[in-house]
């Protein structure tokens, strides 16, 4: 497909563009088919075969060719991914369960994008991201319970997380590396304990139930969408809200990455003293960055609370923090596309692994160790880090 004679009637760039578009759409369709049809041990065998295939050096070369091919038309790729995601409920044949799972997976990806700012960009390990997520979820829920609209509560939750993130960032000024990881570990546990114990505010271990549905132009998110020729499942409402939020988050983070801020992030991660000597106000910049990354947790928390309609302290445990961290590492630190794919994969995988039942977390831990040993840079290594050792 790459070597075309000059006398080709179709100009090569257009045909290549259409090819990329169709390839991405069919990838989405295959993914939908996989979600709906793959079951049990056959699925596991297929997954292992795929991983083994990908581990071969030749597969790596093919992958890099494909990636280069896509990279020549980045805007088209993004647009066709967006179109694929828009059409995805139709590919899923209106199956409410999987649409719901994917909505949550996208919320997870938003968190991965936010954590990527901490972990991937400035190299701070945050083991308490679930704490920020919890703050976002509870803030939004308390506001909607008090009668405010979801559309007001979400920005408020994001502001709250931004402020708390700023406090965490202030801690990161003096404590770096592993010590910051421990600060955030303590932070996450404190938030969870506070939620359990402040029963007058959060109803403790019982959690908050009956979180109101979201209305969009008078249309409730719990009622199905009527397109005239077909009824879409009610879960589709939130699918599109989450898709919009994910797109906005990814674009915002990508924008930050591509302007001077992103270069400062990289420089700060590699040599903070060097950056300081070039005149950057490192403490102020660090606080700003950590706050920026935490803001996404507020968005994700608000979406999560309203999508599930029920939140309790169990949703915000250390395990949740670890899972987001694993999503970022799996995707490849510093890579936004990687963070999105990592988030979706890590959330969909447990759903598909339900047939192994109790051994799910055991397999999860084993896979984490294997992945870290063999692919410490993740599935999609950040191209900016090509010349770094790790």
């Amino acid at each position: 497909m790459s070597v075309q004679p000059v006398s080709n009637p179709v100009p090569p760039l257009i045909s290549r563009g259409i090819l990329v578009f169709l390839a991405i759409l069919s990838a989405f369709a295959l993914f939908a088919l996989f979600l709906l049809k793959a079951e049990g041990w056959g699925l596991l065998a297929a997954a292992i075969a795929l991983i083994a295939l990908l581990a071969l050096p030749i597969a790596r070369n093919v992958m890099s060719v494909v990636i280069e091919f896509i990279r020549t038309r980045p805007i088209l790729t993004v647009i066709s991914c967006f179109v694929g995601a828009l059409l995805f409920p139709f590919f899923l044949a209106n199956d409410g369960y999987w649409i719901h799972v994917l909505s949550i997976a996208m919320i997870f990806s938003i968190m991965a994008i936010g954590l990527n700012v901490h972990l991937g960009e400035i190299g701070l390990v945050n083991l308490g991201y679930a704490g920020l997520f919890a703050i976002g979820a509870y803030t939004a829920t308390l506001f909607t319970q008090a009668g405010y609209s979801f559309w007001l509560a979400t920005p408020l939750a994001m502001t709250m997380c931004w402020l708390v993130g700023g406090l965490l960032g202030a801690c990161s000024v003096r404590t770096t590396g592993d010590y910051f990881a421990l600060v955030t570990l303590g932070f996450g546990l404190i938030v969870q304990q506070l939620i359990i114990n402040l029963t007058w505010l959060t109803q403790g271990n019982n959690g908050i139930t009956n979180i109101a549905a979201v209305t969009i132009f008078g249309h409730s998110s719990k009622s199905p969408i009527n397109l005239g020729f077909m009824q879409l499942a009610p879960q589709v409402n939130f699918y599109y809200i989450c898709l919009a939020a994910l797109t906005a988050s990814a674009l915002l983070a990508a924008r930050y990455q591509s302007v001077w801020i992103g270069r400062m992030w990289t420089a700060l991660r590699q040599d903070s003293i060097g950056v300081a000597s070039f005149g950057l106000n490192v403490p102020y910049f660090k606080v700003q960055t950590v706050a920026f990354g935490s803001m996404f947790a507020g968005l994700a928390g608000s979406l999560f609370a309203h999508e599930i309609g029920f939140i309790s302290p169990d949703d915000f445990s250390l395990l949740q923090s670890i899972e987001v961290l694993a999503a970022v590492i799996l995707g490849g630190m510093g890579n936004i596309v990687g963070a999105i794919i990592g988030g979706i994969l890590l959330f969909v995988a447990p759903e598909k692994l339900r047939f192994v039942g109790d051994y799910r977390l055991l397999i999860y831990g084993g896979l984490l160790v294997i992945l870290l040993i063999y692919r410490p840079r993740g599935l999609f290594p950040d191209p900016r880090r090509r010349y770094e050792k790790f």
Binding site: T175, A181, L185, I190, Q193, I273, V369, L372, I373
Partner: protein, 303 residues
């Protein structure tokens, strides 16, 4: 007395965490899980030897004493062997990777241990009774009522710490260990086998963790598969408060953690619910004010 006994257990965990960080340079979030592993090995030996309570284990006889000792030793050995196994499996391949990767890997190891116990130990999903081999009697010394188990836990911990202190300060191995802790490159150039020291420290730290786990089990007489998480977190807090990589700092930190817990649950209304919050709050405060711990040496950054 409760505070002291808890401090003693935390100190044993904290020493291992602190040594691992200083000598090997890994943040091991699976340390509590290794302790749990030791506890369950010990429990298995108990059940094997005593045949499900056929022998009254509180009676004084030679065979019972031997069985008890064997079970405790098995717990310690099990933790050491388990620690070495996971070192070879997960940490050794990553010895040149940045600390973040090692930290995440230890989380994975923690998952593996916890879930293995949960799934493969008979009825591991539920809390298991641990044989109460210490008589639950109270004795009175100078107006203070204490239990035998307090004496045993504190006594064993103090003995272990004295032994460890001797080991660190006076033996050849201790000297090698301290040299690696101070400067890995110089130690290597002076002929210290860094890898041998690393392996030895890992085995030693894991064994001490196993001992701490068994003491914890003897203290509460109940064990469950997820007790390791709390041990890790508390041990870490203690190690960090004192200053990671510092043997005596770990002791000080453990004492502080134990007493903060006891004070919050004792003097605040419904304080026991908030004791973890108090401990972690102090952890964060100390990290922000003195990032190298209370008696840690200041680290100057190399440019």
């Amino acid at each position: 007395m409760n505070a002291l006994a808890l401090s003693a257990i935390y100190a044993l965990i904290a020493i291992g965490i602190s040594l691992f960080f200083g000598v090997i340079g890994i943040v091991n979030l699976a340390h509590g899980e290794i302790a749990t592993l030791g506890v369950f090995v010990s429990l298995a030996v108990f059940q094997l030897l005593l045949g499900g309570g056929a022998v009254d284990i509180t009676t004084v006889s030679f065979s019972v004493a031997a069985a008890n000792l064997a079970a405790l030793a098995a717990g310690i050995a099990g933790a050491a062997v388990g620690g070495l196994f996971f070192y070879r499996l997960a940490f050794y391949p990553l010895r040149d990777a940045p600390p973040i990767i090692g930290l995440l890997c230890s989380v994975g190891v923690g998952f593996i241990i916890r879930e293995s116990i949960l799934n493969f130990y008979p009825d591991g999903r539920n809390p298991q009774p641990f044989p109460a081999i210490i008589p639950p009697d109270l004795i009175q010394i100078g107006g203070v009522i204490i239990q035998y188990k307090h004496i045993v836990v504190i006594g064993v911990a103090v003995l272990t710490m004295l032994l460890l202190a001797y080991c660190v300060e006076r033996t050849k191995f201790g000297r090698a260990m301290r040299s690696v802790l101070n400067d890995r490159e110089v130690a290597r150039s002076l002929g210290v086998s860094v890898i041998a020291v690393t392996v030895a420290v890992f085995a030693l730290g894991s064994a001490v963790a196993g001992l701490a786990g068994v003491m914890n089990a003897l203290y509460y007489n109940i064990v469950q598969s997820d007790m390791g998480t709390l041990l890790t977190v508390k041990g870490f807090t203690a190690a960090v408060i004192g200053g990671l990589g510092n043997f005596y700092g770990a002791l000080l930190g453990a004492l502080l953690v134990g007493f903060i817990e006891a004070l919050t649950s004792g003097f605040l209304p419904s304080g026991s619910a908030y004791k973890d919050i108090a401990v972690f709050g102090v952890l964060i405060a100390i990290l922000v004010v003195r990032p190298n711990g209370l008696i840690g040496r200041p680290i100057s950054e190399r440019v």
